[in-house]
Symmetry: C2
Subunit: 192 residues, 2 copies
């Protein structure tokens, strides 16, 4: 059963997609601070009110646009080797950071969070909590199989891996695949 | 040779101190975003121009105020046990974060950095580079004595330790002494 092009839910979905694409391309071109809801609406060919109907702030739109590009990358495959699986995921994240507008969007959102508790909650719900859940599920499998120690503190391990990437993003320090290997080497010597 | 109270350098030093104290107390009371150069000048009983003569922006004043409270805490003692020495330092940092205005000031500055390259450079010069230098010097001693592996990547180790603290600060997640122990356990199993 396919929706007709004039079906309201299809029309909404098209507008939603256009808004998120407009938000991401504008952040990429102008930087987070120079993007306005007006500019996003203009580029997406929708009214400002359409955006405000779905999102409470510019930060919330850009967070959703960033999450949409992050989600397919932050998956937790299971090849039976947690370190290799995380290497694949973490190098995917830094490719996203270094080759797309994601880095500018994400840094802008986290900066805005420092004075916007609603946006901070959005980051927790859309980025951090799903990551904690996915990481824990994969890490517990690894513990059951002896890939890592049964008593390793996987919550802290998770913080350290994603924390170091965000640290280097916020401080505008280079990130590459060799760096991820160096991080994983310390972390996995620590939990094996 | 003590400067007289009317000596210009003494007067300057008093104004400088009053400005930094005013900046820190205002961030603590109002939050970073709600502090203005005008309010800092008023509380410090100096003219706005005095502030602009020494600092290019509100962010730069608040960065220096934050650095001033951080500096005495981020020292690298040498008791012969790097993990114990870092535990002392890192728990000192989180005490500063959780019990003073430092956390609000630092998070505000890093947020502002995302759209202010001059301030970003200031953070590197005043916070990150001295920390890299101090950490490396202490870690090299530890390597020479076999406290940690001679081939451990101490630059990456440093990023992971301070990165995880900043990660939890920016995402408004709790930090306590037990958490620092959990981080150090993974990191030091990784480098011993």
């Amino acid at each position: 059963m396919s929706a007709s092009p004039r079906d309201p839910s299809r029309r909404n979905e098209n507008s939603r997609r256009a808004i998120l694409e407009a938000a991401m391309s504008l952040v990429c071109e102008l930087g987070y601070d120079n993007v306005s809801i007006e500019a996003i609406a203009r580029r997406a060919c929708v009214g400002k009110q359409t955006i405000y109907r779905w999102w409470p702030s510019k930060g919330a739109v850009i967070l959703e646009a960033a999450t949409q590009s992050l989600d397919p990358v932050v998956v937790f495959p299971d090849s039976g080797d947690l370190q290799a699986d995380l290497r694949l995921q973490l190098t995917g994240i830094i490719d996203l950071v270094t080759t797309t507008g994601f880095g500018a969007a994400y840094c802008g959102v986290i900066a805005a969070c420092q004075s916007d508790p609603v946006l901070q909650r959005g980051v927790h719900e859309q980025v951090i909590e799903p990551n904690i859940k996915g990481f824990r599920a994969r890490a517990v499998l690894a513990q059951e199989r002896g890939e890592i120690r049964a008593d390793a503190d996987v919550a802290t391990l998770r913080d350290m891996l994603y924390g170091v990437i965000e640290y280097r993003m916020f401080h505008d320090m280079p990130l590459d695949h060799a760096y991820i290997d160096a991080v994983l080497e310390i972390a996995f010597r620590g939990v094996r």
